[in-house]
Symmetry: C2
Subunit: 341 residues, 2 copies
């Protein structure tokens, strides 16, 4: 008899991927419209704030706190990503009290209840973007925060949930069935039409992302908008009427001309841009000749395991790279390379 | 070195699940608005037709055909499901020519291009429901067709794609961002707002469905609307900000109070009611005391492997059952039971 679960220590592959640390209890079933009001009346409630596409953060130097941790000191890189130079190098704090959120100009119509964490209600909302910010305050986009691993995993997971929800509510002001105005329900867990009563729930788009493997080689491509020298796993949206495995085979075929057979699920990732579920797989190549989809990819080719290891280590002689560690593509590529030896 | 893929014959678990046989090449990238027109002008094009919630079918007795195959003769069961008694027992044909579709009253505004199969364009559209149908014509809902395994897998896969797409277009007549009217684009692969140009793509909702396992026992529940004696795997929609594994743990905890640790992906299923991707997993239970969510489940308990085998075989002394073979729940339960011996 084969056991469904072996005795290996529990080290989940999906936990290696960015945004996987969410510890909020959503409590979706027990909610009603008063849940948000009650959370907004509780002094212990805390909010994540977005100004346009950026997370609003405080920087707190050398002050011990149970919230946040020491950010990487790579100030130049963060600055290049659009953050103020004086905002980095310290402890970044992403949570705000209700009073502080009001001072930031919180738009009350945007506020959603994410859930409960450590006994406190956790909410999210949007504030107006600001040209200038006081010292010790900054705003950084979520992807840069993830690349920098600048916040603890539980904050990154909560911010991912927050970003997807805020964008979904903003994009669903009207009923797609009748055109009537919709209102938020149960603190943001759904929206309901004020005319025809149609109820809709937050959308999550499944995306397959996969590394085709041919023995000691894997298939990677580069999109024109990638950083110079960057290659990654192929990916695409799963379409209605497809299993995960069928979507993997179709996407690889469409983008590279490669036929694949067996597909093996590896791990999944929350991808809040705006609201995808990345489903990461390895796929067994049954053909080898690449016929690239020129509309999607600037290049697509096989990479030997040794070359992949150099790309992961940042030691490739021509400076070729793979996505940053927070990306599921990195995890898939690393898992392939790690099979060596 | 451990190989990513072993040498076992390629027998994909997802292919055991209903609706997994779709062979249509979607050709989504290469389409434009003229693709549908051209498909509607080609005499070789074929359509799947839905009348309300039912698939319109011809019955062709004992006439050999490359389309369709012999349906099961369980006329009583099909009749109980709402099909006419005289519609069963023969070969069911789900495809119609353009002229036949016009005779059925095809609504041209609903027609979508599914893709290409064996060199022929495959489309789908809706026709008005009819109280009476001529002999050798019937209409049966898609779930009953799946339970009966009454059509070949490629038709069932195509019908699943068709049903999800037709319902999505019907539910998205207006722009959720601005309330303006939307129009179909590229033969149905997206919709675009005639006012603000927002483009939206067909929605697929990821759902986790999972069997918690505690050694030789698995956890199943029954919803009030299930057939008498029916138990199944627990399931629920994945929410924004969750990995697959996190969603599995949350849903099991919410519905049964059971804490689970390791989660193992098993297979996936297309579920066109209206447009879900069922993601099937086994999960390792870390606790045993069931605290049922009474709002969701009428019962929830552990089942010994032997009892599960009886339920699968239809020999349970109290008549308890599991879902039909086309359901991914069956595949998950069967995989658990099959670990014996």
């Amino acid at each position: 008899m084969t056991a469904l679960f072996d005795d290996r220590p529990f080290r989940e592959a999906s936990h290696r991927n960015g945004f996987s640390g969410n510890r909020i209890a959503r409590w979706s079933e027990g909610r009603d419209d008063s849940s948000l009001e009650r959370a907004l009346a509780a002094p212990s409630s805390r909010l994540y704030l977005f100004a346009g596409d950026k997370v609003v953060l405080r920087q707190q130097d050398a002050i011990p706190s149970s919230v946040g941790h020491i950010a990487p000191s790579d100030a130049a890189l963060l600055e290049a990503m659009g953050a103020d130079a004086d905002s980095v190098g310290g402890r970044l704090l992403p949570l705000w009290t209700l009073a502080e959120a009001a001072d930031q100009g919180l738009d009350p119509d945007t506020v959603v209840l994410l859930g409960v964490r450590a006994g406190e209600a956790v909410l999210a909302g949007t504030v107006p973007p600001r040209e200038e910010r006081p010292p010790h305050e900054t705003a950084i986009d979520l992807r840069s925060l993830a690349v920098q691993e600048a916040l603890p995993p539980d904050d990154m997971g909560a911010l991912a949930q927050a970003r997807s929800l805020l964008l979904w509510h903003a994009a669903n002001r009207f009923c797609a069935r009748c055109g009537g105005p919709m209102r938020m329900k149960n603190g943001g867990s759904s929206r309901v039409c004020t005319v025809c009563n149609t109820e809709v729930f937050p959308r999550v788009d499944p995306v397959v992302i996969m590394l085709a493997v041919d023995g000691d080689r894997c298939l990677m491509g580069r999109q024109p908008q990638f950083d110079a020298g960057r290659y990654s796993a192929l990916a695409g949206f799963l379409e209605p009427g497809e299993t995960i495995e069928d979507a993997v085979r179709r996407e690889i075929k469409e983008e590279s001309g490669i036929t694949v057979g067996r597909v093996r699920y590896h791990s999944s990732q929350v991808w809040p841009f705006p609201s995808s579920l990345m489903i990461g797989c390895h796929a067994e190549a049954l053909s080898t000749e690449v016929v690239r989809d020129a509309a999607e990819l600037e290049d697509c080719r096989w990479f030997e395991r040794e070359e992949v290891a150099q790309m992961l280590a940042g030691t490739h002689p021509e400076g070729l790279t793979v996505p940053p560690r927070m990306a599921i593509a990195w995890t898939l590529i690393d898992a392939f390379a790690g099979r060596e030896g």
